[in-house]
Structure formats: C-alpha cells, structure tokens
Symmetry: C2
Subunit: 339 residues, 2 copies
Amino acid sequence: MRGVFLHAPGDIRVEHRPDPTIVEPTDAIIRLSATCVCGSDLWPYRGIETVDGPAPMGHEYVGIVEAVGPAVTTIKPGQFVIGSFFASDNTCEICRAGYQTSCLHRELIGAIGTQAELARIPLADGTLVATPDVPPDDLIPSFLAASDVLGTGWFGAVAAEVGPGKTVAVVGDGAVGLLGVMAAKRLGAERIIVMSRHAPRQKLALEFGATDIIEERGDEGAARIKDLTNGLGAHSVIEAVGTRESMMQAVHATRPGGHIGYVGVTHGELPGDQLFFSHTHLHGGPAPVRRFLPELIDLIWNGEIDPGKVFDLTLPLDEAAEGYRAMDERRAIKTLLRP
Amino acid sequence: MRGVFLHAPGDIRVEHRPDPTIVEPTDAIIRLSATCVCGSDLWPYRGIETVDGPAPMGHEYVGIVEAVGPAVTTIKPGQFVIGSFFASDNTCEICRAGYQTSCLHRELIGAIGTQAELARIPLADGTLVATPDVPPDDLIPSFLAASDVLGTGWFGAVAAEVGPGKTVAVVGDGAVGLLGVMAAKRLGAERIIVMSRHAPRQKLALEFGATDIIEERGDEGAARIKDLTNGLGAHSVIEAVGTRESMMQAVHATRPGGHIGYVGVTHGELPGDQLFFSHTHLHGGPAPVRRFLPELIDLIWNGEIDPGKVFDLTLPLDEAAEGYRAMDERRAIKTLLRP
C-alpha cells in the first residue's frame, strides 16, 4: 500500500509500505475512507519537534473494517468506524473515568501512521466506534473531523467548563479552535470571543457561533478580552495553540476562578507565579476523544453539526506534500487526504 | 507601638513604629491578640525573594477591634475578629464567586505588617469576621491558624476536589500541608498520604488524619504514591510548598483526570509538556480564606477542630527573630508571637 512519510523537516513523501496485518488478537485492519493532516503534524514538519525519519505520519482516520483479530467482539468487518489518536481498552479505571488517552494500555496511533490506504488499529473494541450504517460520502469529512479536531475542541470546551450564560474566549483559529467554537455554542455559551486575524477563519468562526472577533494578540489580546468583560476576563478560555505565548494569553484572558481548557500540545516552560496568581483552573492534555465519540457521531449522523467544514482543501493521498505545505503556509485550515 | 521589620535576609528586628490610624472610612484598627510567622515569610528571610528593607512583616492576625471608620457598619469595637492576608470588599463579582484574594479592590495585608501590637485593616466589613463572643485564651491559636494556614490548607483540599472515597496525597509538611490533612479528613477522604521526613510533623499529620507517611521525595516519592494506588496515582493532591520540584512531584503523583490543589506560592518555571500529558486538573493560588472563615470559625468555636496545634513555639513579639530562625532551621513548624 501507499503511506505518507516524513523524512526530515519539510520533506514529505508518499511511498510504498507493507500492508498491515493483524498482530494482536485485539487488532482490526481498516481501509481508510479519508485521512488528514493535523496541526500537530506541523510541529515535526517545521522541525520544532525532532524527526527521526522516515517516520510514518497521520493519526486521524475513518474507514471500513476489513478484518478483525479473534478477540474482537463488537467491531465487525464492513462497519464504518471512527477512532482517536490513542488506542484505548476503554475498560481500565482511567478509561472509565473518561481519560481514554491516558488508558493504562494505550497505544499511539501516530506511530502506526494513518495517512495511508490501510491501518492496523489496536484494541479495536475499546478504540473504534461504528456509525449506525455506512454513511453517505458527504458526511465523511465530518466523521473524520470527529476523529481528532472536533473531539479535541469539544474536550477543550468541556475542560474549560463552558456552559449556559458563560463568556468563552478561544485562543487559536486552527481547526481545533474553530471546532471549540462549535462545541461552546452547543454547550450553551452566551458569548464566544475568537482571536483570529485571518478572514476565512473568522468567517467560519462566526458561522460556528462566535459572537466577537479579536485581532489583537498576546497581552494586548488579553486586555481586549478584559475590556469586553467588564475588566474581569472570560469565564472559560479554550487554548488551542500550545506555545508559551498562547498559554499566557489564555491565562491572562481568564477571570479569577475561571477555567482554561488547554488542548494545544504545550511546548516550553510556563511561569509558575503567573499561573498561581491568576487564580484560574487549568485542565487539558491529549483530548480523550473516545469519551465524546458516541455523542459526536449522533450529532453528525442527525445533521445537527457540520464540523467537516474545517476541511478547505481536499487532495489525493499522493499529493500529501502539497497538503502539508498549504497548512504550513496557512493557505488551508485543514487538508483532507483521499487514499 | 512595636512591630517586626526585615532589614535584609536573615535580619529581623523589632522596632518602634507609629500607631496606625483610620485612613479610609472603611478601615478598622485592631489590637493583636496574637500573630505569627508564615512559611511564605521565609522566602524573603532566606533572600529567595528580594527584600527592600526595612519591610514591615506579617499578614496573619486575630485581635480586638479598637476603632472603626465611619463607613464600617458590621464590625464594631470590642469584637474579636479574624481576617485574611488580602483585604477584600466581599461584594464584587470576583468575591461573590469565592475568590476574595483576587477582589477587584483587594489590599495586601503583608504591606501593612501584622507582626505588631496594632494593625490597620482596610475594607473591614468585607475582610473581618467576628467570633460569637471574645474567645477563651486557649482557642486563640486555632483562630489565628484560620487567618491563613488553616484556610489555605482548606482551599488546597477544596481545589484538589477532595471528597468521600478519595485517596489524597499531601506534598509539604509545613503548617499548610498539615492543615490540608485536617481539611481532607473533614471533607471525607478515605486515604491521606503525607510526604514527610520529620518525626514531629509525621506525628501531627497522623493526629490530623493521615493514613500513610512517605519519606521519599521527587520522582521516587511520586513513584511510591503510584505503588500505593494500584499504579494510578492519587485522586487529589495538595501541593503546599511551591518549588518546581514539589509541583512536579504533585503532578506525577496524581492520576490522569485527578486534581491538584496548589497553595504553595509557586516559584520558577513549570514544564508545559509535563503538565499537558499529566491530564491533571490544576487549581490554586492565593487561598481565598475569607470564603471559608465563617465555617472554620464555627468548627473551632464548637471544638470540632484544633488547628492551633501547628504552633509548636510561642514567643513574645520581642523575640520574633528567634521565631524566624526556629522555622528557618525547621526546629519549629510555626511560631506564634504574643504582642
């Protein structure tokens, strides 16, 4: 089969690799209906994270089950399934508490690489969720979004304790930030302030439910949010970037006692005293997308949300390199790849 | 009157200073029944925080009201009162949300200095809480503890979401950590693990409700807590030190999805990626002691808790320098000063 590899920063290639096979009795093999490039794939692409290339890429996936191992009981060949970027047993105490991305038996899907024609998914029963039926083609982008960016934005909103009557600020206008807006809207937020300087992203944010757009960044951006909230700051802030600057922007935009949901993979060091005196609640980490999948699948299946709109570029898998470039240069919000 | 000043690291002196007077119509003047030395006073004493000496010291206080300004309506001369280390109006939106130490009109009591015979307390109606009557002498240490260390330990436990059935770990065996144990016990924790190497503190921890004592520190200490919790980590961790090492010990001792209440004034930088991947909830900051004062005063007045036991050294105000030395050298847990 063909699969995407990162050889070195900026060097994406589509190459032949062996078809995956069942290794563990709990595995499933899926044929990808669609896959995509994640904002977090840009960290190694840009050389900010070390690359030990050639590394298989991709951790977002939807597809049709081709085969399952002998211990798999709930997932069956022919089903259309969605999973998250960590395989999880969904039965351990940590999973049952809703933190499947910290499952005691978790396996990183990114190490397998789902930007490919086929993928081996470990712990299939705990990881994969099937749709009620094989969906029509036009729903595939939305289900693919549920595999990571929608679930991650959703977790950001839940971690930030978004709820009715609250003012929410969103730091980051990538797919996760934009879908954080969608989640905040669904969770009943009264006001949703998005930080963005990019017209197409601003437009999508407004479509997803944003009430205010702020173009300022850093301390200035945080000050603007205070201006809009009687000098207090937002009740809930979703941080969807992961730099020190964006984290501190989130911290300074939150009122004392408010909540930050941080879902951008945090890089660098954070000043302890500023966290301490901010009086905020901080919660986040790798989103336990599996927790939200059943609900998100329902919402998409019933046409209540359309998160697939974050894909503004669709390419065949063979053109993955252009898909990365377009996102790196911010020409595309998110690239969908058709194997 | 006499008051304590820090001239330079290690240089504590008791000197004459003018009696305080009513400055704002919302002020009260109290005559200190007792005051004390705080763990956080040791940061400048040790030169870890810059001292611009001579600086008046002390922010913990109980005493009898001598005079009130014309705008004070609920606090009256003759009452025995307790307040916290930030004066607060207790009416703004942030106070009403329970974060009085981030009150929009807060004033730092430490800048006034309560290691003295008299003190001016701003925003008296919002800051001070009176006991039902002037208490007997033997209750004074417990009420003094409520002014900071008890309220801070309590906030640590509440921020760490301590509750029935939970396993709680406490990092730090100073007065705040020990009273965090007391709070955890009162809040229904099933198991309370305390990290301490110091026999008298271990004894007090056990008396306050600790079920396990761990002598290991850092990564080893965190690993021991994982051992005691089926490899998962504690549900709730109270961090009562404030160094990078102690914070990361708390982070690594908490299970994914668990809660850290951090109340040691955080110094230095924290690694963003480790916070992110820990999947913990982080909440803390300067404890809004005022939120808890009415409840804590009731518990003490009714003899249900005896937090005054953390004072294992009582000295006249004039011997404040020895009080600081004893705490610095860990000969005393906490020093009470009698003006």
